[in-house]
Amino acid sequence: MGFYDRLMSLDRRWIYLFVAIAVVLPILLEEFGIPISIPPYVTPEAKSVYTFVHKLQPDDVLFLAIDYDPMAMAELHPVARAILRQCFKKDVRVIISALSQNGPGMAEQLISQTAKEYNKVNGIDYVYLGYKPYPGIVIMGMSQNFKLFFPKDYYGNPLESLPMMRKIRSIQDTKGVIDVAAGMVADYWINDGAGRYNYPLALAVTGVMAADYYPFLNSGQIFGLVSGMKGAAEYEYLAEKDGYMKKEDFIANRSMPIQTFAHVVVILFIVIGNIGYFMSKRKKV
């Protein structure tokens, strides 16, 4: 077997090794005080989500759906955190649900942590509803009346006892919904939520899902889209420029070097594979 044939049928464990190095190396560099940072290119679809929140007035109500579980935390926590920070800083009130099975505990941590930073109180500045199974049905329910599925909030307080919920009956009374989602909950929001009841909806989804939601963006079913870690980096970048957050709080932007390294490795392997393929073919001819 010639060199090129061997190159083509390279044991996949070598590839695994190089991917591992690409991820570990930037982390080590940062550890030794050599951080690498590059400003992101801001896409219009991410910017429109940002601007939507940016234009909300104090006391407006935003519905934030945290529909992912700890699995997607790495990718989606940065943007969820940035949106919450932006709202709390502006005194925009937020209603939050968590319709992913393993998500409610994680969402609670995020919310209470961020709320503490800004001295916000559940029931007055924000309301955390928690989890109920079967998102499609729950979303339809919340669009009619929160009490259908959430007679009490996550902490067990009856909704009518919460000052913030006095004037708000359903999602239709809010300014709109931003759904941070991994998995098909986003489809339920499009179909059963915004599709049926006509309120503005934007999505922040994992990179893999993003491609699927461009058609909805184009058809106006959603007004904005933050896609994966890169979208989060864009969002953080915008939020930092307007003073909603500090550079030290960046999460997504810090992981971009890892991404760059890993992408380069994958591309290099594709190129190597093709070199092997063409060279071994030429020899045979």
């Binding site: 996949r12 699995m71 998995g183 893999v208 899902m209 491609a211 699927d212």
Partner: protein, 270 residues
Amino acid sequence: MISYFILNIPSAIPWFDFNRINVLITLAVFFCFLLYFIGRAKKGKSLFIRRIAGLDAIEEAVGRATEMGRPILYIPGIEDMDNIQTVASMIILGNVAKMAATYETPLIVPICRPFVVPVAEESVQQGYLAAGKPDAYDKNSVRYISDEQFAYTAGVNGIMLRERPAANLMFGSFFAESLLMAETGFSTGAIQVAGTANIHQLPFFVVACDYTIIGEELYAVSAYLSKEPKLLGTLKGSDLAKLVIMIILVLGAILITANILWFKNWFFVQ
């Protein structure tokens, strides 16, 4: 209690939601297309349907497994019966079971949702019955693994690594586990055929499997495999609907360029 359902309804609210009349008409027209072609098929008129390449791939995979004397692994996706892809997958499963029974090749069906378990059992049993070998049906071929996506994936990968199926058939609604399964399947040397309408996972199946059935083909395969002429009629009906959609697409673009808006607006749903 009953009062929960009886509401004071202002008489101004009509019973019928007139905003959605276009959906109703479209649905009715589509249904008529289907009925028309089913009727024609019933009368015995022959309907031409081109051979779908994915079908050959399934048969080839089953044949390979038989030759090698190793089992067939059938993975029906990770969603419940409320996803129609799972329904289509169950139909295909019934036919794969029939092939497996004919060749007496063992079949393994790992399941992610408990509610799918009885349906899969019925489909497999039905397949064995149709092949005339109801006694060859193994009660342990349908296995519930776990509801959790990655636990399910771990379980399925375990089956691939240790029971060494020679054919992996993946039809249904898949998410991130698609590539985890397909790469593991590749490393065990199995011939792999996959099909899903989940657009986000199609790239991974295309890259890692020997043959991929794309989107609507999944439903077409399920109709084709059942070999009942009247079910093939629905394929014709759905083709006609596609033709109409393509005409509307072109006509709509022309009309709207000529500033005639009512045509496009008619299809608009609030």
